[in-house]
């Protein structure tokens, strides 16, 4: 079997383009389910935000906007290195792909570290649904905001963690010259979607605050 940049062509495919397209379509079916999962939760958040605008704005202002912005920059940059990694794998530059994959994972870990720091600050400040000590006319609604905040960011952090694990597995497989560039491509698609979800979570959760 000749090893080409495009990897092994499985017998059910006419050519490499068709094989790559099948991988991308399969990934997008899965990503569609992810879009609906996060989409439904974000929609519920948007409905409650439209019903309790002042309370949600006041609650949002309690978040650390700068840490959220730093995390957005980290994820956007990780998407760049992931795209470069997939490009390198497609172009047969295996060594470069092997370097860029841990770089991407490192940005992902950086995201989780900042997120963890943020969570610890929020726990310290009692911004946790269940024992929300602030008294005021809109306390229950503010608490609802934090229920959504923990649900959405927590679910997203789980996805980032899974992405890092997949990258680790992919790195070892790549080192053994195992997978085709399509495996890198599929991982990249997943990682980019996790980035896209954060692109929406950041303004919705952090920038609706009454800072003006």
């Amino acid at each position: 079997m000749p090893t080409t940049a495009e990897g092994r062509l499985h017998e059910q495919y006419e050519d490499h383009a068709q094989q790559r397209s099948a991988v991308e379509q399969g990934m997008w079916v899965f990503l569609g389910s992810e879009v609906m999962l996060f989409g439904a939760a974000i929609l519920a958040f948007a409905i409650y935000r439209s019903l309790h605008q002042a309370a949600f704005a006041a609650a949002s202002a309690r978040l650390h906007e700068s840490l959220g912005a730093i995390n957005t920059a980290l994820l956007l940059t990780s998407s760049l290195t992931m795209a470069l990694c997939a490009h390198a794998a497609r172009s047969g530059m295996r060594r470069r792909a092997l370097t860029l994959l841990p770089v991407t994972a490192a940005f992902g870990i950086g995201f989780l570290v900042v997120k963890g720091l943020e969570y610890s600050l929020e726990i310290r400040d009692d911004l946790v649904p269940g024992h929300f000590p602030f008294l005021g006319p809109d306390t229950p609604q503010q608490e609802l905001f934090f229920s959504f905040y923990w649900l959405l960011t927590g679910l997203h952090a789980v996805h980032v963690t899974i992405g890092i694990w997949v990258m680790a597995g992919l790195w070892f497989a790549l080192r053994r010259r195992g997978p085709s560039p399509n495996a890198v491509e599929a991982t990249a698609l997943y990682w980019h979607l996790v980035d896209v979800i954060w692109i929406f979570l950041f303004p919705l959760l952090y920038l609706t605050g009454a800072r003006r």
Binding site: A17, S21, E24, Q25, W28, V29, L31, G32, S33, E34, V35, M36, G39, A40, L43, A46, I47, S50, L51, E65, A69, T72, A73, L76, T77, S79, L80, M82, A83, L84, H87, R90, E185, A188, L189, H192, L193, D195, V196, I199, F200, F202, P203, L204, L207, T208, G209, R211, R212
Partner: protein
């Protein structure tokens, strides 16, 4: 269509960071009701850049593009119908 070049990826990344800066800066200006709309529009622009360039939909074939569009289309239906309900309640 050919894959994007490395320069393109860096340009897209730069655009994404500029849009991030813009959305944070605009959130601190009082635009009234437009604040939320501006934030969502910028988010949509960033998502479009990631989808088109990083996720290679710009050069993907029709079948892949349709599959990718299906999830977002269904979400759009869900959002439209839900807001039709809540927006028209007395």
């Amino acid at each position: 269509m050919k894959d994007a070049t490395i320069t393109t990826y860096f340009r897209v990344w730069l655009a994404l960071l500029l849009l991030l800066g813009a959305t944070v800066a605009l959130a601190h200006l009082d635009l009234g009701k437009a604040n939320a709309a501006v934030a969502l529009l910028i988010a949509a622009a960033k998502a479009a850049l990631v989808l088109a360039f990083f996720m290679e939909l710009r050069r993907a074939d029709v079948a892949t593009r349709s599959t990718a569009a299906a999830g977002f289309l269904l979400l759009a239906v869900l959002v439209a119908l839900t807001f039709t309900d809540y927006g028209t309640r007395p």
